[in-house]
Symmetry: C2
Subunit: 323 residues, 2 copies
Amino acid sequence: MYRIGIVGYGNLGRACEKIAAAGKDFELVGIFTRRDPASLSSPFGTPFYRQADLPSFEGKIDVLALCTGSANDLVDLGKTAAVHFNTVDSFDTHAKMKGYVSDMEKIAVENGHLSFIGIGWDPGLFSLMRALFGGVLADGNTQTFWGKGVSQGHSEAVRKIKGVLKGVQYTVPKQAALDAARRGEGASLTTRDKHLRECFVVAAEDADKAEIEREIVTMPNYFDEYDTVVHFITAEEFDRDHTAMPHGGFVLRSGSVNGMHERVEFSLALDSNPDFTASVLMAYARVNCKMAAAGMRGAKTILDIPVIALTDEDRLDFIAHNL
Amino acid sequence: MYRIGIVGYGNLGRACEKIAAAGKDFELVGIFTRRDPASLSSPFGTPFYRQADLPSFEGKIDVLALCTGSANDLVDLGKTAAVHFNTVDSFDTHAKMKGYVSDMEKIAVENGHLSFIGIGWDPGLFSLMRALFGGVLADGNTQTFWGKGVSQGHSEAVRKIKGVLKGVQYTVPKQAALDAARRGEGASLTTRDKHLRECFVVAAEDADKAEIEREIVTMPNYFDEYDTVVHFITAEEFDRDHTAMPHGGFVLRSGSVNGMHERVEFSLALDSNPDFTASVLMAYARVNCKMAAAGMRGAKTILDIPVIALTDEDRLDFIAHNL
C-alpha cells in the first residue's frame, strides 16, 4: 500500500480521491486544504487537514499529489512540499517549466526526495509524444491541437464580462488545419488557422448581447487572435448541455525519411478532463513511490521515466505482453 | 561520430545506409552480408564484408544494426553479434520475444555489451503505446489495427501459388471495427471483424483465376480467418500502382476513469514502411551508443529507455521545448 496525500480539493483533487478510494494499492492519508477543514466533507470519509499542517505529516506519507488550481500557488506549494515529501504534480505553465524543474531538482536532492513534474496529458502524454516524435522522425514538423474541449481560463474570462450569468468556452481544432498538418504543411499554420473558440453564454435579461459578444471576440490574448463564435442560450440549456468537462487533442508530426512522407499522430478524446488527468497523475504517483524506494532522487518529468516503470508485472512477462 | 555497422542489405539495411549517409553523426564502417560482397555495390560507396568476418571488427564498431530479413536468422545473428558488439534490431516475432530478450540479456551482460531489441514501429512505437496506455488508463481495452499497408508475409504466400506472376497483399483495417473500438467495444471484435485482406494479382495467361482466388481465400493461417478480396490486374497496372511499401496502423485504448469514458489513440501513416522503421532503428542506435558509453549493459527494449535519451540537447532545454 502506498500512503498518499492530496493537496487541494477541486476537480483534480476530487478525481484523485475517487481513484485512490476505488483502487487497492493506495491508502489515502488525507486531503490538505487552505479552506477550513471543518467546512469540507468527503463521500469517502477522507479526513481533511490544514495545508499549513503538512510538515507534521513528514514520514507518514509516501507521495503527495499536488492538485491545487493556480499555477502560481503550485510553484510555491511544490517548493515547500519537496522539503518534506516525494511529490507528483501536473504543473502546466510551459513558460515557467524550466525554472520550476531546476528549483525542484535542487530542493528534492537536498532533502532526499523525488518529485515528478508536469504529469498529466499536456504537459504529460503530449510532452512525451512531442519528444518521441521529434526523436524518431528528425526531419519534420510537430503540431499540437487542443480540443474539442472546455478551456477553464477562457471560460472564466467570459464569465467576468458584465451581464454574463453563465458561460463556457470550447476550444475547437479546425479540420482544415488538422488536414494541412497531416499533409506536412503544419509549419505555415497561424494561430487563427488552427483553433476556433466557441462560447455558450447565458446573459442577464437586461444585458446588451451585442456588447457582450463584442467584448468577448475582441478580448486581448484570450480571443482577439482567434475566430470566435458566441451562442446565447438559456440557463436550462446551459445546465443540460454544458456542465461536463470534456477535452481532447492531437499531437502530430509529419516529416520525411529518405524522401518518403511519414506521419505519426497521438490523440485523446476525454469525456472528463479532470478524471483522465487524475488517472495519469495517480499512475505516476505509484511509479514515484516505487522509484523513490529504489533510491531515485531529484525532479523528473514524464520524459525521464521509462514506460516499463508503470507496471508491477514481471519485466519479461510485461515485455512479452506489450512488445 | 558513432561508428555503425549494418548486417543485411535488404530494404531495411538499404534504408539505414541512406540515413547514415545523409546524417552527420554516423560513420558507416560497412555492410555485412551472407552474399558474395563482390556481387554487391552501394550508391554511397559503402564497403561490403562477409558476415562471417564480423568478429574481426570487434572494437571498430560502436553499434551493429541487425537488418536481416528472417526472424529465425535474426535470433542466431543477435546471439552471435552480442558477444562482440552493441546491437540494435527490429526483431518482430512477438511469440519468441521473451526468450530472445532473456538470452540476449545474458550474452550482452557477460560480454559487456548493450543490445536494443524490437526497435521499430511494431514492435517498437506500438509496444510503447500499448504499455503506456495500459498504465495510465488501467480500466480499459487496447486494440491494435494494422494498415492500410503491404504485408510481406502474405504477399509472399500469394506469390507462391501456381499461376501467380506478381502479387501483393494489403492489410486493411475495417472502419466499423475501428469505430467500435473507439466506442469501447473492442473486446468483442473477432479477427474477421478487424481487418480485410486485399490482394492484387497478375495471373499467367493460361492460369485458372477462379482456382487462384479459391486457393488464396482458403489458405490456412494466412487468409481463411479473414474476409479476403482478390483483384486480378495487368502487369502494367501492378508495376504502376503496387510496388511501393506503404503501411500504417492504430493502437487505441478505450476505457473508463471514475465512470467517465476516455480514449487514447496512436496512429501511423507511412509512405514507406522500411524507411520509417530504419528511422526509428537509427534513432535508437544513437541512443545505444550514448547509453553503452555511459555504462549501460544488457538487453533493453523501447519500454526500458526513457524518451529523453533520444536527444543530445541540454536536459532542461529539452524539457522546456517539449514539456
